[in-house]
Symmetry: C2
Subunit: 556 residues, 2 copies
């Protein structure tokens, strides 16, 4: 590109920094409150002072730009202060997943090279166990809820509150480059070591703005507003509690942090503070709704974003019957996390069928939020058009996706193959533009360049009255690369003869109505008396695949 004069290109571009999320709230909502359980309530004015004090404490302990600081805490006002103070120093907050095993926690603290750790007493035991093996940790700070912190063998320099109490109220935060890393946490897959995922100041700010716009600009199923009251129902170590704490703080809304997740306390806090906005995984919602003391909550106040797993329509309906407004949300650790939300279009926007059940819409994976570009890619890397018949891997571009896994160039490269972030989710875009995830990539079969969903195939076969149980895996095939293999347990006493051909004919119904790809007719079907199972009783597809390297029964 040519630029006719130097004035055409910005000589200095104002950086997007987490610090700037706070510039407005200082005078917008100084008296608004941030609560921690039933134990503490501070105002935003106090919160801002404490962020400054915290920065002074951390600086005195030698924390410098680029250092990693590990946090092991439940959702708390302290965690919120750390969300801001650590990155605003130019350091990186490592939000330790306290649900990992102690060996995995050891791995992440060591891999992140944390130089300072802040630990709640509930995690003293783990911390004490790993402390001798993480020599890079120079200092420990305790995060106690009590005036007298419990005893610990950790070489603690003091408790959070007492350290803050001795610090001045003003800190001059540095001007940073917006591409400075701000946050770091680890995600665990089924195999291999945990992977470090990290986000820059620019990414956090852009995610906050786009998530905020997505949550506020739509009327249906709900709109977030400046008079909402927020309580997180997901842990803050899990992808920054989906970015909601940054957004809630920027907007200056009332916030309530619940500490350790105890259903009874959550219900009591929801009721007492008249909470209006939250977010959680489906199982937490189910647990709260089914709790014997759930009656104390006026659920009709509540707007909840649900993500982390598919939202079953039965649960969505049960929540709606209690008056909750539910929004489906989609994202993953690598995506900061929000990518899509299942908003309902206003009338006349596009081809939404008037008869569509709104509850059905909110259980869809979601519609991309602003600045997100999504594509469905087949195994050859070709982007597919909308339509249920065009399933492929969901790939993403957005300005807030992690640039890779920390110090892991190979897996980073795989994540970003071809310039798109590969989610490992198999999906299609429906004709209204919503993303519909059908499978994880490991659950699909690549058949001559087409994706075949094992879950959909299992679902179809299981609808035949003779089928008691079924598991589908891919087996290698010289012509098609892979083809489906269905291991079927038949019901006893059906009375008619069932052959593989019977079931293949049955699949035609699904092929004809467009539910299944026509190539599922290439499925090989084998009848068995049992299916291999894992120690927790789930079907062991890995064992099944291994046992199939020399299949013995096959339909022609």
């Amino acid at each position: 590109m040519k630029h006719p004069s130097s004035a055409w290109l910005a000589d200095s571009v104002q950086q997007l920094l987490i610090r700037d999320l706070l510039s407005r709230v200082r005078s917008w909502a100084p008296d608004q409150t941030i609560s921690y359980r039933e134990l503490r309530e501070i105002t935003y004015a106090e919160f801002l002072k404490r962020v400054n004090q915290l920065a002074i404490v951390l600086t005195r302990l030698g924390v410098q730009a680029g250092d990693r600081v590990g946090v092991m805490d439940w959702d708390s006002h302290r965690y919120l202060e750390l969300f801001f103070a650590i990155p605003m120093l130019g350091a990186v907050i490592h939000t330790v997943n306290v649900r990992l095993s102690s060996e995995q926690i050891l791995y992440t603290v060591d891999h992140a090279a944390d130089s300072l750790m802040l630990v709640h007493p509930d995690f003293f035991e783990v911390a004490e166990a790993i402390a001798p093996r993480v020599p890079k940790v120079r200092h420990w700070i305790t995060l106690s809820d009590d005036a007298m912190p419990p005893a610990t063998s950790l070489a603690s320099v003091g408790d959070y509150e007492s350290l803050l109490a001795g610090a001045e109220l003003e800190f001059d935060f540095p001007d940073l480059n917006e591409n400075t890393v701000a946050t770091l946490f680890y995600t665990t897959g089924t195999t291999g070591d945990p992977k470090g995922v990290y986000f820059t100041h620019r990414q956090i700010v852009l995610h906050t703005l786009a998530e905020g716009l997505a949550l506020t600009a739509h009327n249906n199923p709900f709109s977030l507003s400046d008079d909402d009251i927020y309580l997180p129902l997901t842990p803050m170590f899990h992808v920054h509690a989906w970015g909601f704490p940054y957004l809630a703080t920027m907007l200056g809304i009332k916030q309530v942090y619940p500490g350790r997740f105890e259903p009874q306390r959550l219900l009591s806090l929801l009721a007492h503070h008249r909470v209006t906005i939250s977010h959680c995984v489906p199982t937490v919602l189910l647990m709260l709704l089914n709790h014997p003391e759930s009656k104390q909550v006026d659920w009709s106040r509540l707007k909840i974003a649900i993500g982390g797993a598919p939202l079953p329509i039965g649960l969505a309906r049960a929540a709606a019957n209690r008056g909750i407004r539910i929004l489906g949300a989609y994202g993953m650790s690598e995506t900061c996390p929000i990518i899509a939300a299942s908003h309902i279009k206003p009338p006349r926007s596009g081809p939404t069928e008037a008869a569509t059940d709104p509850i059905e819409i909110v259980t869809r994976t979601g519609f991309p939020i602003p600045l997100v570009d999504v594509a469905i890619m087949d195994s050859a890397g070709v982007c597919l058009p909308a339509g249920r018949e065009n399933i492929g891997e969901l790939v993403l571009r957005a300005p807030w996706l992690t640039r890779g896994y920390l110090d892991d160039p190979l897996r980073s490269e795989a994540l970003w193959k071809g310039g798109w972030l590969h989610t490992g989710d198999i999906a299609y875009r429906d004709n209204e533009g919503y993303i519909r995830i059908t499978d994880r990539l490991k659950d699909v079969i690549k058949l001559g360049g087409e994706w075949i969903s094992t879950l959909e195939l299992e679902n179809a076969l299981s609808q035949h009255p003779a089928v008691k149980e079924v598991a589908v895996v891919g087996v290698s095939d010289p012509k098609w690369d892979e083809r489906p293999h269905a291991e079927v347990i038949l019901r006893e006493g059906i009375g008619v003869e069932i052959t593989p051909r019977t079931l293949l004919k049955f699949l035609h119904t699904f092929i004809d109505n467009g539910t299944l790809h026509q190539r599922v007719i290439l499925t090989q079907i084998r009848f068995a008396a049992t299916l291999p199972r894992t120690s927790v009783g789930k079907i062991d597809k890995k064992a099944l695949r291994l046992g199939l390297q020399n299949p013995t029964t096959e339909n022609p």
Copy 2:
């Protein structure tokens, strides 16, 4: 800052481009409509096709990255298409201010070095007059509303519609650097040539997100939503119609462009399309409300942002009485433009007095929107705390402020003195955090490092029963740099003797209640029989200042 491994700094950062504002709407709202007067209605699907066709037409005419393309049109769907297509090519849209004199238009087209001009027939006369003197313009395109464009001596390559009709539907827009300049327009002051103000893709995207969040996240006085219907009541050449067209398009809402501003047509379009959201200067609102045919509009649907001039409380009340929800907004050409909006805080946020009249709040200059950092700076460059007694120049930081005036390094440097954008507005932050503009910089006096408002001083003196008319200017002073001089015409037949000392004593009332700075006691007061006036009858302060270089009457 140190970064422990290359992975810590993003090796490639996804750019913020105007193109990405469109990524979502393609499938969110393909059937939603964009109307132009009573003449045309297109869907978003058609709009997107036309943006592609337009890019093909412009590329064929030789438009390249970095080129400037001038537009002279009323608010139209075509203008919206040009808002996107030109920057998405890497070129710069120059939104020509069609209200300037033909000599000024000539100056701006020449200074911008426009290589292509698109002109509505209403501006053929001006364009024909300047055409021989702008040899850098290689091509002209007409923007006709009729199938048969009127005759013109411009060397037109064709009419917009017929050129589009012949173009393919798909264009592959380039990946750009986000700091590529996207838009350019000229602002005129009281002296000197028009100044070119320009904004990059990054700035437009960030302004769209922050403006969007400000308009959607607050409940009071209103919240923008995805089911709103938009019609601009300010021209698109004026700071991109305050960025609303970019926001409305990103959200996929119904849009109505009214063409030439004719009150009767505006009222008819507002009524016919049941418009719910707009923005304008106070005089346009006044004109519409007072129009004999204003009854046809259901004003209670309407939410209007008002800016460009202080909003008189009487007008705000008149609008509220019609059911309109009014939001004050503040910005200027150099700021893209939105900086602040007069949202009303929810309860318990801060020290808003419960008794405060909400209409009074919306007439305040406004509260900074997200990512905006404001300060009040005294003449020594020191930032002042909140409080009515601390007036100074309003200075700004935000990621979407123009980096300067095109090819004008001296005035650019003055604009950005000390790393803050200097607005030239004199203001204070009130105790609730709202910006309150009191004067333009040229109307204040620098007295020993303090700002003294001539408007407030005039206002105070005019309240003395003996004062018929008063004008205050600054005169140079060896001790104080400047001190106020008040030229006063006394009423006749007052009956008591009035001396300068009488009026100075009177000023003590205002000093004592905190309305005026105590140093106004240094005002020199002179009685006169007449005041110098300009040709249009306004008090000529420049002449008054000149006449005061050797003042003859002075209080001790």
